[in-house]
């Protein structure tokens, strides 16, 4: 029997597992696969898209930030920064300021916390910069970057195409291929030899995010020294290294603190019917070969929204919560989940489980469905995280609150 069973190894689940393990709970983390960090920019969006700044009292009552509370958000961010600091992967930023990070096409992504190599682009506004594309990395769009960054007020002098040492690769390279190469100091020396002469006259260079997956800060600092210029990284289309780095740090930290990580199996909720109280007894773990019971005192559901199956949309228009079949509100007509244009606000973003201030999923009467079941992250209803730019902030704040409540 584990103390806390967390279902879902996305940002909220991983973070919750570390928080709980640091508090000496016996934690098991179960996930059918990785979460969405590899398709993210690896930053922490707290309230990035909305025009006004985050004021919790102005949010609707059922908004996850309001439910989790400002205190949970503050503590979560402190805990997050500590974890990152201990992992030698520091972040820059705060709850009261916005950072602007260039995207792969030269838009500016507004965020609250960003890793140093991405955040460094802030320092460069007002100074002439160049944009690098890397031969063999197909997800580089230097002309688009130059044009759009210029429209966004960056002094982009030019783009420069940089080649890689060694022979022609046999296929298009992914960002992770390059990251692996850059982790080798001998390779970095070769890069310096190859690139330095081409970079004369350039003081600051924006490059696709390929500077290592492990020890990224070390790689980043070392390359800057070797090249003698300032660099900032720009996240690429998936696999996005900044997201992967964050994921890697969280997995490592969780393992380090003794979280029992079970990857590759899915969870089916089990209800404890032995007592009168409505409780969950844990899950049935569906491994690739068979199924077995995993018992837990408390369970935190952190399975996310539709993307990775926390919520399932059925053809008949219904929406199902995939582990415990918790009550979800859904529209009568399937079409109503989506708005006509991709760029519109989407109804599907709002769906999920309703929770109380202890992050317990609620039934239609507003009562907790099970007294030892909590939830965190994207599975929670009430926030259009896309439009608000609140995805990671909600993940962290609700994870913090869920762990607090579970360990009370």
């Amino acid at each position: 029997m584990t103390d806390i069973l967390i279902i879902g190894a996305g940002l909220s689940g991983l973070f919750a597992s570390i928080l709980a393990a640091k508090r000496n709970a016996d934690v098991t983390l179960v996930s059918a696969g990785h979460g969405g960090l590899s398709i993210s920019h690896g930053c922490i969006d707290v309230w990035s898209k909305a025009t006004s700044s985050l004021s919790l009292s102005r949010l609707k009552k059922n908004h996850p930030y309001r439910i989790a509370g400002k205190r949970a958000l503050n503590i979560a961010m402190e805990a997050f920064e500590d974890i990152m600091h201990d992992a030698s992967y520091p972040f820059s930023g705060s709850l009261s300021k916005q950072l602007f990070i260039p995207t792969a096409i030269g838009s500016l992504h507004c965020t609250a916390y960003a890793p140093i190599s991405l955040a460094h682009s802030q320092m460069t506004k007002g100074t002439p910069i160049a944009i690098a594309s890397i031969a063999g990395l197909r997800d580089c769009f230097p002309e688009m970057l130059v044009k759009n960054l210029r429209s966004n007020g960056y002094l982009v002098e030019r783009s420069i195409s940089l080649s890689l040492p060694g022979s022609e690769p046999y296929r298009d390279l992914y960002s992770t291929d390059l990251a692996y190469r850059f982790e080798d100091s001998a390779y970095r020396d070769q890069i310096a030899q190859l690139w330095k002469p081409r970079l004369s006259g350039i003081h600051c260079l924006g490059i696709p995010a390929i500077l290592g997956l492990r020890q990224p800060n070390q790689v980043y600092q070392s390359i800057q020294v070797l090249l003698g210029i300032e660099l900032f990284e720009i996240p690429t289309p998936p696999p996005s290294l900044p997201g992967l780095r964050l994921e890697q740090v969280l997995f490592s930290t969780a393992a380090h603190f003794g979280v029992n990580i079970i990857l590759g199996s899915s969870a089916i909720g089990r209800i404890d019917r032995s007592r009168k109280l409505k409780r969950v007894s844990g899950i049935t773990l569906q491994t690739p070969s068979n199924s077995r019971q995993l018992k837990a005192q408390k369970v935190i559901l952190a399975t996310g929204g539709f993307l990775h199956g926390g919520l399932i949309a059925h053809r008949d228009g219904s929406i199902q919560e995939s582990v415990f079949n918790l009550p979800i509100d859904y529209p009568e007509n399937r079409k109503a989940l989506l708005a006509p244009s991709l760029f519109d606000k989407q109804p599907y973003e709002m769906h999920g489980v309703r929770v109380n201030s202890r992050m317990q999923p609620l039934d239609l009467k507003g009562e907790p469905v099970y007294e030892n079941l909590f939830s965190a992250g994207g599975i929670i209803a009430g926030a259009d995280r896309q439009s608000e730019g609140s995805r990671q902030g909600i993940d962290l704040a609700t994870a913090q609150r869920a762990v607090e409540a579970a360990l009370e």
Binding site: T103, A104, S107, F141, Y170, D172, P237, R315
Partner: protein, 519 residues
């Protein structure tokens, strides 16, 4: 105002219009084809992919059936590169009317359509995914025809033989002198400039927009619009065309097309040529029809749904007493005879499989009017392909290997294995860059991820060759169009793809910012 002069102006660059122009070119007639939009934006580009054996019409419309059967062999001769010889199976299920299959078989034999009975064992060995509750099965000569390849090849061949294909130009006025159409005024869809084209004969082959074009000359045509919806499934479940052997109805054909499989179609009367929303009930209906033929079909992943508008000849609405209806399914209306307006004729109806035959009849008419003796030879002269890779599956497969060439010729659309060189070739030959047209030409973006990665890559490649603002607007509108096709399928795995793409575009890339007006 710039002007052109020619002998034949064909309005509409669908299969019919291009077919007519091709036939005319081979007869030495000076031709200009115009289209309001880009290639494949009309009915021909929303096609099921079926090269009919003729079987479908054997009982209800033997003339059409005969035409399909003979055109089937002709097309295999003249445009083999656009055809995948999948073969076809007609299946009567145990729940289908038992005597229809016999009637159908007899009718086929009378017409001379090759029909070979198959045992259940043979059928299931060939296509293990099929249902076992088949009462009768027959093999026919159906195939999968790629209409994009067809249209692009026709267009290319026309240009090579001296014809002109002028895209993005919409006819907005006819100049009529003495009850004779002498010129058409056109406006460019791209920059709103106008031009004039004078000709001796004007053929209205504008498909669903034929009535709008005819109205410009003050004439009415007996056209009815019918919407046909189709769904592309993410994977091929069979490699053979599967037909339902029952009286022709909706959703009774499943066609392998490229790396996907298309089920269709519906037949819903609509009032206009414009894109009308598809209802969830149509989607459900098609998936349920598919389920009857292939168990588990309705749980498979649909990639996108779209509809085409069929311009049907409906003489019940017709109060003319003279038509040149050569067959019940397509009609050539000589407006000199029916409305007293000379120099203009309208052709509509028909099906893509018989486009060449329709074109032949129109070209015969044109030749007669121009007093030219040359006979049709489109049944023997091959339609020349452009130099590019064709879309059929086997071509895509052989290029998957890793090699030193690969990194240089980057794979831009990974789902469909479309290379950078193909996109560069497209850029070389196109004054106007349109992702949707690139899609039709190369299949870029037609795979499971529905262009989540390749749309931006392709735009990136085009960036140094075109106006960047236009490219970004095109990117945004292309992405949104892909959305509309997939948003009808908001369940299961398709829902996950939708959410994934949106997250990629809006959060990771921030596309909404670059097109200007979105927040």
């Amino acid at each position: 105002m710039p002007s052109l002069s020619t002998e034949l102006l064909v309005i509409g660059a669908g299969a019919t219009g291009l077919g007519i122009a091709w036939d005319a070119c081979l007869r030495g007639i000076k031709v200009v084809v115009v289209d309001q939009s880009n290639i494949a934006q009309g009915t021909s580009g929303r096609y099921h992919g079926l090269l009919h054996s003729g079987g479908r019409y054997a009982v209800t419309d033997p003339i059409s059936a005969q035409e399909c059967a003979s055109e089937n062999s002709i097309l295999r001769r003249i445009i083999p590169h656009a055809i995948e010889d999948t073969g076809g199976l007609y299946l009567a299920l145990r729940t289908d009317p038992a005597d229809y299959a016999h009637e159908w078989q007899r009718a086929c034999q009378e017409i001379g359509i090759d029909v070979e009975p198959q045992s259940l064992d043979q059928v299931l060995r060939r296509e293990p995914a099929l249902t076992k509750s088949i009462s009768q099965a027959f093999q026919v000569n159906a195939a999968s025809l790629d209409s994009f390849d067809l249209l692009n090849s026709l267009s290319h061949s026309i240009r090579k033989t001296g014809g002109q294909v002028l895209l993005h130009h919409r006819v907005n006025e006819f100049i009529i002198e003495d009850n004779t159409v002498v010129a058409a005024e056109l406006v460019s869809e791209l920059d709103q400039t106008t031009m004039q084209i004078g000709a001796e004969i004007f053929i209205n082959a504008a498909g669903p927009w034929s009535d709008q074009v005819a109205a410009l000359a003050g004439v009415k045509i007996p056209i009815t619009h019918s919407k046909g919806t189709m769904i592309a499934m993410a994977n091929r479940l069979t490699h053979t065309v599967i037909h339902r052997c029952r009286p022709p109805s909706s959703g009774d054909a499943i066609v392998p097309a490229g790396s996907v499989m298309i089920i269709g179609t519906t037949d819903i009367p609509v009032s206009s040529a414009n894109d009308l929303p598809i209802k969830p009930s149509e989607i459900d209906f098609l998936l349920d029809q598919g389920e009857e033929l292939i168990p588990g079909f309705s749980n498979r992943r649909p990639l996108r749904a779209w509809s085409g508008i069929r311009p049907l000849y409906n003489p019940l609405h017709d109060d003319m007493n003279s038509t040149r209806g050569i067959s019940r399914s397509h009609v050539l209306i000589n407006h000199a005879e029916t409305d007293g307006i000379s120099g203009l004729a309208s052709i509509f109806g028909g099906k893509l499989t018989t486009f060449r035959l329709m074109a032949q009849r129109v070209a015969d008419f044109v030749a007669q009017e121009l007093q030219i003796d040359d006979q049709c030879c489109t049944d023997t002269v091959p339609i020349e392909p452009e130099e590019k890779e064709f879309i059929i599956l086997s071509n895509r497969t052989t290029r998957l290997l890793p090699s030193e060439n690969n990194a240089r010729d980057s794979v831009i659309c990974e789902c469909e294995n479309v290379r950078r060189s193909e996109i560069e070739a497209y850029i070389q030959s196109s004054d106007h860059f349109e992702l949707d047209n690139l899609r039709c030409t190369t299949r870029l973006g037609m795979g499971p991820c529905q262009s989540a990665f390749c749309s931006v890559r392709a735009t990136g490649i085009a960036f140094s060759s075109y106006e960047t603002e236009d490219l970004l607007i095109d990117l945004t509108s292309f992405i949104d169009r892909r959305w509309r096709g997939t948003s009808l399928l908001a369940w299961g795995q398709s829902m996950r793809q939708i959410v994934f793409s949106r997250r990629l575009y809006l959060e990771l890339l921030g596309i909404q910012q670059v097109s200007g007006d979105k927040s």
